[in-house]
Amino acid sequence: MSGPAAPPSVVPAPAVPTNALVEYLLRLGDDRLVLGHRVSEWCGHGPILEEDIALSNVSLDLLGQATMLLRLAGDAEGRGRDEDALAYFREVVEFRNCQLVELPKGDFAFTIARQFLFDVYAVVMLDALTGSIHGELAAIAAKSLKEAKYHVRHSGEWMLRLGDGTDESHRRVQKAIDDLWRFTGELFAPDDVDRAMQAAGIGPDLAALRPTWESLVRDVVSRATLTIPNDLPRVASTRGGRTGSHTEYLGHMLAEMQIIARSHPGASW
């Protein structure tokens, strides 16, 4: 064969600022790390044995997904931080999770309503991310989507039972939706990081996902004889968890989550 040398077969890394990619992966990973920890608080405290086991399993899946995503974030960052360093040795302002996931677990109705709102967000987002040109992220999304689908089945079926259950369960889950709704605005408020990822073919058009999410949420909520509050969710834009502005609850949660690793750095067990 003659002619010019073939171009290198290695696919070049996507042309985006590294820190935008790291930020993006931290957002995805931190959502699952923080929510996974919140759900784990039910371990040993579930209302019935089956739910104790179910919530512990969901927590484990979320922590597993967080591990994969944070490892990828650490690799993209290239400063030698692995998933444990990112989970245990960052300060609260460095966390990039949405505020929805950091709120205290509340009662069972609050936990279920929060899971449901997040789980629908997760399936919509992960489904979109399976088409990412970032091969490793697409693979993690495809794997996580399988789990998110049975998570949303669990939380969605509970929405029906609680909403269309007793007066007490209806009242509690309706209050949970009323209290949580304003935190959903942040999920679909794209900023420069999201736009950079979308432009690079790594992430979806976040704002365009919202109608899909909302129609899936409204369908279950109405079947559960519940209502969505009329006030529009506050759009957090630059002042939300994605840029490190958190509610007062996250710091307390991290103190508990990080104390062992920080008291005994480098320990293994």
């Binding site: 969901v58 899946d61 669990h154």
Partner: protein, 169 residues
């Protein structure tokens, strides 16, 4: 010659991995479960085993990796490297019929066919599991979450016993 030798070694390695059982489902090997995706031997004889986790948070994956390295070392292949891949995502469809029969004999209802389904699909549509004890289909799903990430809890109305089902994903 080299290629032939490598192929022979690969076969030998795979047969070693056939003896590595899953720590949580000890009747199935890590190959039967589809956890082992590939084994490579480079010309220098370095062994790399590619694995994929069943569930993202499966706590058994670390033990499985250690068991693989230990089994290979015992068989005369020290220093094997274990590499993790996430694509394609693990599916119970990789579990062969013979392996499913072993699950049933062990008392775990084998998985049905994995269905991708809608993004939000409440109330699992597929047929009920067959009771591994009495073979009845008069069973109900009690919870999609069981003693490990890969199992659901069912109840058999015919023999009135709870049993576990390997989740289809």
């Amino acid at each position: 010659m080299v290629a032939q030798a490598v192929r022979a070694t690969r076969e030998a390695l795979l047969s070693v991995l056939d003896q590595v059982m899953d720590p949580e489902v000890p009747v199935l090997s890590v190959r039967e479960l589809g956890i082992v995706r590939d084994v490579e031997v480079d010309p220098a004889g370095n062994v790399t085993v590619t694995v994929t986790p069943t569930y993202s948070g499966c706590p058994a994956i670390r033990v499985i990796e250690q068991d693989i390295v230990a089994a290979l070392e015992q068989a005369g292949y020290p220093g094997a490297r274990v590499r993790t891949t996430y694509a394609p995502a693990w599916t119970t469809d990789w579990i062969a019929p013979e392996a499913k029969a072993k699950l049933k004999a062990y008392g775990i209802a084998p998985p049905g066919r994995a269905e991708s389904g809608e993004l939000v699909q409440l109330f699992r549509r597929r047929a009920t599991a067959q009771c591994p004890y009495c073979d009845s289909y008069e069973t109900e799903l009690r919870s999609e979450f069981g003693s490990t990430a890969c199992k659901s809890v069912c109840w058999c109305r015919a023999c009135r016993q709870p049993f576990e089902e390997f989740k289809a994903i």
